[in-house]
Symmetry: C2
Subunit: 290 residues, 2 copies
Amino acid sequence: MKILLPPELGFCFGVKRAVEMAEESLKKDKKVFSLGWLIHNPRVIEELEKKGVKTVNSLSRIKEGTLIIRSHGAPLSLIEEAKKRGLKIVDATCPYVRKVQNLAKKLEKDSYQVVIIGSPEHPEVKGVLSGLRKKGKVVTSPEEAKKIGKVKKLGVVVQTTENLDNFLKCVKNLLAKAEEVRIFNTICKVIQERQKATLRVAREAELMVVVGGKNSSNTRKLFELCQKEGKKTYFIEEAQELKKKKLKGFKKIGITGGTSTPLSEIEKVVKILEGREFKCMLQGQKRKNF
Amino acid sequence: MKILLPPELGFCFGVKRAVEMAEESLKKDKKVFSLGWLIHNPRVIEELEKKGVKTVNSLSRIKEGTLIIRSHGAPLSLIEEAKKRGLKIVDATCPYVRKVQNLAKKLEKDSYQVVIIGSPEHPEVKGVLSGLRKKGKVVTSPEEAKKIGKVKKLGVVVQTTENLDNFLKCVKNLLAKAEEVRIFNTICKVIQERQKATLRVAREAELMVVVGGKNSSNTRKLFELCQKEGKKTYFIEEAQELKKKKLKGFKKIGITGGTSTPLSEIEKVVKILEGREFKCMLQGQKRKNF
């Protein structure tokens, strides 16, 4: 019986950076806060909480100390409000998210109607919208793209964790909406690669296990990708959950995880399966990671 | 028995303008030339020849007089060569084609790899390419779009007579080729409307008659559109050709024509059908045109 893994797993650059910045902040200040989860993984947040990084839901909860802007970015108004309150700001916005924010602003400055392909509820999208003077439009699906009104110039950016195929389908429907359509494919390359590699594993596996936060956009997209491929898929946040799942009868099990899923959690999943006589086929994954 | 027609037929603005400019030139100069057909319709060219506009295949055939640059535009080198030879230039390049030329140049100036969606053999595409310093790429089909190499910035324009659906499919495949893709939908609006209206007629008709030059790109696309819709379609250059075609058994016949097809030729087709007891349903077409 085999375990199949994509060649690269674990944190992406932006998540690793955010966690390190939070830990670094604790060396300088004992009161370190994050407004909403720093990254979308319950295990990581739990560990950070233990170390002293407090997650709060509102700025009013913070009287003094350091506010870490999470990897997905934050609305400009919120950052300004925090500064007014005298908080120290540590900006852990992922540089790729920052790029989306800047491109959207530049497009607006150059008179494009800005469209963001992504989820209107996601903090990244909210952050991008907050940087615009006029109202940016959010498009989630190709059907929604069809409903966008006609304008002269349309400028498009995309949530860094968006699915490539959905992005392409949305853009196809946006093309008829303006004489000029200027598109920046701002999907994070690590995420694109993770999606492609996951798809390759899913095609070979009989069962897929997706490990990561349920509120992690990119992890959820991996789950949807496996399901679309017609594969039975378990979406678990922690390795322990796997013990309750049916594994009998499957000879090839694929594992994947989002860019906010720690490699240590994947390792635990591998060990549980190895305990059931599965043998790990690493497909290019360096053994030293485990 | 019914004849079905789209609401608008006959020359588009650019074709009308080119023919008028040719006729105007004859008032000022007796030696008026066009390098290649001024517009892609044999009947119109024949009439212009009678009036005195001579079509030649090479600049070397023109010793003196006026050279009309045809509606599709011409390579820059050719225009410069003509000027050197002391010819008077009357530029009948369609303003919409001129716009494609200018946009392609601007994209190149702003460091985009220029891609033209269209036919590499068409004079319009050749003219656009000739204005670029580096090599522009021509893409005819979605399959060809897939083969374009990856670059940082891709700038896309499209032949004014391209089919909208093919354009959209090509662009979808180009989106994965660069971080930024800037697209100008330069398909002529008259042609887009003609295509849509033709499709509506084709859906209702049992037989379609497409009237126009066989070398007219936009007329040929109307023919292809009707065929793709699964309708039996006759592509004729002159009304007379219809007399030899099988018409029996069809109760609803649709007629359409390209933007270089004179309305008078459509009228002749209508009259032939009326002679066979077909009744013309004008679908918004103003009767005064006939």
